[in-house]
Symmetry: C2
């Protein structure tokens, strides 16, 4: 199981038997609209508050995953998930609706892979027959919290990113058909002393690099083992910084195999500045678009490196730096 | 490993090889002062902000645990923990200081046992040789966030509780000497429709009862198996409500064996109204006082049921109910 200090190898190959992905209007106009199970034409989802809409996004993603996997909620043993909202109320309320035993996770935008790592670990070691894991974000709920008052319409610098309105969930089991989760490397906090909350990609890049290099080292793999190494939401700035760092460290990574979910989901011309972000970014892109491509046989092995900036509006106001983290999970399909 | 739908039994008996507990001035005047490794005479811990002081509490608890366990931080593979502050910055910054691979958990005041459950699971299945888990809270940082503006000095009703300033951490391993973690039952969200954030104990009581009953049912145990069944922070009101519910359901629990950490830590006469609360409450009482008593041979088997109210100031303002959860972990020592 343990391969090195912070890497687990899953010898029982837990299976992602189904996924559910839900998006909002901006995502419906994006590049990956066809990869969502459900798209909403407005941000309210018939709810009274953005936070309730956020909750519904996650509920729907979980329900879609169960529906596609042919499972009733009573069969699901655990739900592992989280979001960015204070005290994670959208995920907690959703878990109440589903009634599933619940392990709340906080990893900011890295939550998707924190959940997949722990979920695959639990399934691999027979701690559950079926479990759900996922993450979500809602643009308006998150903006309200991090950029209040949004009504001022403050202009953002080109380094800033657009929070995805979306939720992605995966149903894992120890048997069944689908992509396998083969290993995971847990991130540590990397804090380079940056303090600009409008350049989160730049802040997170070193954490992504730290985790990628730890993963390759502890598994004794060459980057070429993976058809795709995909980060969560580094955006344009962070993607370039991380690529520079990897090259500088002599990690033989190819630009063609190194991508970022935050640069995939929106269309050229959408006003998203440096790209997408939010826990829903990697969750929807991986559990929708990327697994769909795997199932079509476009590639066989990918390493997903979800990145998170663990700051808060208060820590920023108090002049603190931005602690960042990245968790990596490898998913393989059709390679056996 | 799996005993029932949401209970794990740890056949390899992961060991709590050491713990660290740190408290503030109110705790120093409390009933359990002698059980803390470190007590601070003021709330600032020489820091500029309460949030930084909160971070230091957790760092010190982890450092104490490592020191007492004779380990260097490089030997610790994972840190599993969390707190109540928005985006959990105190725990994340502390994990940056320690440099340990980090899995952030959010379970409000149930975080201590969410972490111990997952940590013991990972050690039991050889996913780590050594890991740290813990939780913390800081009275002034939490009050500021949940009861702002605290300067108004708003009077509180007798049902409200006092947030502990404290941190507790446990170092787990698959070998060594100390109390064993023998099983865990993961909670589900129980929401009885209560909305009063100043009666959290009453809101959480049904979640505690749900988890205790699930644990006994899935492990097929009579409550008398445990010398002590101890809830996290139900306080006076929640403790009575939960006892009533257990009796009403015919669960044969004795009042003498059923206690609450929130009713242990402070002294009669301290102005804490219905008792103590906060993630640091069960973390310090269990990892300090209760394990000390176990090591003295006062009792052999306990079930710790840490309770959490997963609300936020915003969810309250929006008229939402309080979703509650409780995670139970059994610890045994000297019974073999």
């Amino acid at each position: 199981m343990l391969a090195g200090h912070r890497t687990w190898v899953f010898d029982q190959k837990p299976v992602i038997i189904s996924t559910g992905t839900v998006g909002g209007p901006f995502e419906a106009n994006g590049m990956l609209a066809n990869d969502f199970d459900l798209l909403h034409s407005d941000l309210w989802l018939k709810q009274d508050t953005y936070e309730q809409a956020h909750r519904v996004l996650f509920e729907e993603a979980c329900q879609k995953a169960m529906e596609k996997g042919g499972l009733r909620k009573e069969q699901v043993q655990f739900l592992l998930g989280g979001d960015l909202i204070n005290q994670m109320t959208p995920t907690s309320f959703a878990s109440g609706t589903l009634g599933t035993p619940y392990l709340g996770l906080f990893g900011a935008c890295s939550t998707s892979m924190e959940g997949l790592a722990l979920g695959a670990y639990i399934v691999n070691t027979k701690g559950a027959k079926y479990l759900l894991t996922g993450a979500s974000s809602h643009n308006a709920a998150v903006e309200k919290q991090f950029r209040y008052p949004t009504e001022y319409g403050a202009q953002k610098p080109p380094t800033s990113q657009w929070t995805v309105t979306g939720a992605g969930a995966a149903l894992l089991s120890d048997e069944g058909e689908g992509p396998h989760v083969t290993s995971a490397t847990i991130g540590r906090v990397v804090d380079m002393g940056l303090t600009d909350p409008l350049n989160m990609g730049g802040a997170m890049a070193p954490a992504a690099v730290d985790t990628i290099e730890a993963h390759l080292r502890e598994r004794n793999l060459d980057p070429s083992y993976y058809d795709l190494i995909v980060t969560g939401d580094l955006g344009r700035v962070g993607h370039e910084v991380s690529l520079d760092l990897l090259k500088k460290h002599g990690t033989p990574i190819q630009e063609e195999q190194y991508k970022d979910c935050g640069l995939m989901i929106y269309r050229e011309g959408q006003p998203v500045l440096a790209g997408a972000s939010g826990p829903g970014c990697s969750a929807t892109v991986v559990y929708g678009h990327l697994l769909n491509r795997m199932k079509k046989g476009e590639f066989k092995r990918m390493l997903v490196v979800a990145t998170g900036a663990l700051l808060s509006p208060l820590s920023f106001q108090q002049g603190e730096t931005i602690p960042c983290i990245a968790h990596a999970v490898s998913i393989e399909y059709g390679g056996e």
